[in-house]
Amino acid sequence: MASRLSEESLKAVYDTGHQGLAIQSEQALDLLSAPSVDLDKLLLEEDPQAAVQAVPPQALYQALMLKGPEDALDVLEHMSADQVVRIFDYDIWTDDRLAPHKAIRWLNLFKEIGPEQLYTRFKELDEEYQLALLGPEITTYDEEEYEKLSDAEQDSLGRMPCNTVFYKVTSQDPRMEEFISGLLEATMGSDINYAYALLAHAYHLPPNEQEEQIARFRKARLEEDGFVTFEESRALFRPLELDAMKQKWSFLLARDAIGLSPSKSRTTAFLLTALQAGARKWTSEEFERVSRGFATLGNMLAAAARVETDDLEGLRRLMQQAQALAGLGLEWLSGSDENVAVALLEKETPQMLFRTGISLVSRLTDAVTTELKRHGVTEADNIERNLRMDKRGVVIHMIETALLEPFGFERVETLKGLYNRFPVLPVTMTTDEDGLQRMLFQPITSLVALTQMAATADALTGLLHLSSLAGGPLGKASLDRRLTTGLARVLAGGGFTSEPLSDIEVKRLSSLPREALQTTGADFFAGVEGTLREALAPGGAGWAASRAAKIHVDDPVQAVMTEFSDLIMRLHAVLGSTEAHDDVALVRALRGLADVESKHQEAL
């Protein structure tokens, strides 16, 4: 048996993209994610039965689960036979196998309404459902077989009114035994012929065959809601040709944008803004159609994210991600124009909008991967290969294990967010008193959020560019240590290289006046900025992931310099300390930030 607590199981969780990272729920995205059906209100309608039966089955199921079906018997009573079957499709299966105890929960509720309800509801189920539920749990005997049994065995059997057919509930589960007895009792009271037929078929038909058959029917019905196969679900994550997509809708942008001022940059979910604008223009049916389209998209993502049809919280999380990325795609396609976005929502499918959003982030992911490879970062080739095969779980696990040493916690978490199946933006990092670090993420809901992600990526790729100036490929070495080592050497009067600091260099650092160090540091800082800008100029080596991904970041150099100035400040803090004039103390302090020749380490 494979352990649930293995690295493989962790990769499988990461592959789902919605459980292995702490993603903050975005309230704005609850507009379409939250159940919209008010059950109490339905019962107050003039014709409550018609009102209940008009609700789409999945929305009804979600509302019932939210309220608790035990507290909604008066709604269950009004449901149509089709709604009951669909609810069984959502709820009574686990890992694509029938879970009879879940079916009993619902059927017992009908029994609570009245025995005839139990009989009617059971009879209205697909025949295959009925037989798959009863078949494995019941054995029947004719007179001849009955006579061969001992007295005790005969006493344990139930008997039909004709006294020629006997049955035994074979299930060891007392709940199942009680349920079947109740069902047969209710059935015999209402339709004796059906009771005989049920017993005969349940016993004689192979139970697995019935389950396989109903599984096929269920699959077909679920597909109507968007619950597609794993392969089809994965296809939603395949990037599309963005230029062609933009071209397809360019006429809309040109026509509808006339006289409209483009929206200002925003930090809230763009989709929400567009839906609110749409709601002012659309009829309730039109809004419902758009809303249903997004629900279908959320369902379509379920197989790829391994979320079951009865996992309502999981489906809600998927719905949020679906809306976030579709909203990103919508904002990009519409040029951030609400009116164009409304027109797009009317004409384009949420699936294509989602793929547009995914494709926008994909360009950034690809650009970062290229930079990781270019600078010889450990496992970069493997990351690229697995990314190409869409093995997101393996990629995230690889980043977490192989890149922690070179990049540190914060950058690793940023990369995990970027490479996640549903890309997310890191927002808050916390460290508790035990040193346990956590990163909180939020969905990428707008172009502003994508730009923030790109600027964060630029900070990393910019530092990698500087690191390459200090020496060969990064490999497994620490990026910060390598840069700080080069920086310390520059302050000691040497070149920007990453070899460990020598005895002479440490002595020089301890003897130089602080002002001189500050001045050299400031000059070098300006030099680094110039180097980075030069590399971004036409014909330069280039390093900004945002540029390669065609995402507009105002000044990619700025984010790099912010991180670089942190390194300088930390180094100055060590060099400026009162103990800096003591070589041994300085080496001890420097060792936390930079590489120092091994003889110093040994001395310590």
Partner: protein, 144 residues
């Protein structure tokens, strides 16, 4: 995780690694909480406790499992990891149902892959309990 010979018992380090792994698996549900895992054994059987808790102890949920040696042919190490596996599957259900799946507060029988085991668990608020203890001890001192 460090490989261990199959006949050696589960070390503290391994328990820590497994607890960390559980924290990663359920990162989206963890909030400010973390897992701690302990596995012990005696002549009668193997015991595992996985605690989901926050630092202050205001949320403290120890889930305990135990297996008697005579009920199966696993060695103590395998039993400990088997228990942990089962407790992990409980926590998966617990998170999925939004924390609405509770265990009995006293030992209850379960079966996993045909192997009998027992489980119990109770959510506690250690902060409140500490405050209550302090209050009671103050009350006592005023009596004397």
């Amino acid at each position: 995780m460090t490989e261990k010979p199959k006949n050696e018992f589960v070390t503290e380090g391994e328990c820590r690694d497994l607890a960390t792994l559980m924290g990663r698996k359920y990162a989206s549900f963890m909030k400010d909480r973390h897992f701690e895992a302990v596995i012990t054994k005696d002549a009668r059987g193997v015991y595992a406790t996985v605690t989901l808790r926050n630092r202050s102890g205001s949320f403290f949920y120890p889930v305990e499992g135990r297996m008697a040696n005579i009920d199966h042919d696993m060695n103590p190490r395998e039993s400990g990891l088997f228990l942990l596996d089962y407790i992990d599957s409980y926590f998966e259900e617990y998170f999925r149902e939004g924390g609405d799946v509770y265990l009995p507060i006293d030992w209850a029988h379960y079966e996993h892959d045909g192997v009998p085991l027992q489980l119990k668990g109770q959510i506690l608020n250690l902060e409140i309990e500490r405050m209550a203890d302090e209050l009671l001890s103050k009350g006592n001192s005023s009596v004397h």
